[in-house]
């Protein structure tokens, strides 16, 4: 119980802040409660299926297969596949984090994981189609075409600037799998 409370201490702090804000303005307090409830419901509809699928993929997909397609020696094909995996997704960015953890566990090259994260954040195909209809083809296509070199550059930069030490601890942290 005590350990449980300790794990949730930051969340409890936020609840305390929520209460103070609610005491200050009950109307806004109700809004905060409503929004927080909504995002929890949304999270509970997104994350459990992802963890379930990750658990099964983790058990059934051999590390060697993943390394061959996305590992250190995967080259341009690995980069392309990372873009496709990120862009084919649907869901908020936080859902990509546990997937990235499994990629690390399966030996995916660091740069490819960051490309996957970048593509997930801003190149999702369903979102692109929606952007196309709301903001027009020039806007959406220009952004899509810029994002490809942009994400490659950001991944290159992150790959270079994050030291071997942090990269090593990233891979070690996720060695247990998801």
């Amino acid at each position: 119980m005590k350990a449980g409370l300790k794990k949730y201490r930051w969340f409890l702090l936020i609840l305390l802040i929520d209460l103070l804000l609610a005491a200050n303005s009950p109307a806004q307090g109700r809004l905060i409660w409503g929004h927080t409830f909504d995002v929890f419901v949304q999270m509970l509809s997104v994350l459990p299926p992802i963890f379930l699928i990750l658990g099964l993929l983790d058990a059934w997909i051999p590390r060697e297969t993943v390394i061959r397609h996305l590992g250190e020696e995967s080259g341009v094909k690995g980069l392309g596949l990372s873009f496709v995996l990120g862009a084919a997704a649907a869901g908020p960015l936080y859902a990509a984090f546990p997937i990235a953890a499994m990629m690390a566990n399966k030996g995916v090259k660091y740069r490819n994981i960051i490309v996957f994260l970048g593509a997930w954040s801003t190149m999702k195909i369903p979102m692109f189609l929606f952007e196309l209809t709301s903001l027009g083809s020039r806007f959406a296509i220009a952004r899509l075409l810029l994002n490809i070199p942009g994400i490659l550059f950001i991944a290159w930069l992150v790959d270079r600037a994050v030291g071997e030490e942090e990269k090593g601890s990233f891979y070690r942290r996720h060695r247990q799998g998801i």
Partner: protein
């Protein structure tokens, strides 16, 4: 799931236990981020965002729009129509572009979670370079679609 259980029940059970453990393990961090999102949505609702971005102009307006985009977390199916209606009402295309780009690529509220998974340096470098990149995107879109 059914296929997996049929092929190897023990392996499937181990996979489920592992999935549950990692879910329970990361929940405290998720709860913090979701709590922050709850507060953020209240004070930076789409209406408030519309008022801030709708009036933004010039380079100062771009900076303002980029900060709002970095802090807020609005799903695309709300953000794109919002951006479109702001454009119709006369908002600048560069301000809207930098808002859309930072909204999707930069996550201040999710940064604690990203740090938990990736580490501090990755989080800082990915988010800050995405922030700067969004200005490049906005400048190019300003020329092409402006």
């Amino acid at each position: 799931m059914v296929w997996s259980s049929a092929r190897d029940a023990r392996k499937t059970r181990a996979a489920l236990v592992k999935a549950w453990n990692s879910f329970a393990n990361i929940m405290p961090d998720f709860a913090v981020v979701l709590g922050l999102i709850g507060i953020m949505l209240t004070y930076l609702s789409p209406n408030v965002v519309a008022v801030i971005i709708g009036k933004a102009s010039g380079l100062g307006g771009m900076v303002l729009a980029s900060i709002v985009g970095s802090v807020t977390l609005i799903p695309g199916f709300v953000a794109f129509p919002l951006a479109a209606s702001l454009l119709k009402q006369g908002a600048g295309v560069m301000q809207i572009a930098v808002f859309v780009s930072t909204l999707m690529m930069v996550g201040i509220v999710t940064a604690p979670l990203e740090t938990k998974y990736f580490g501090r340096r990755e989080t800082i470098i990915r988010n800050s370079s995405s922030f700067i990149f969004s200005f490049i995107v906005a400048a190019v879109i300003g020329v092409i679609a402006g």
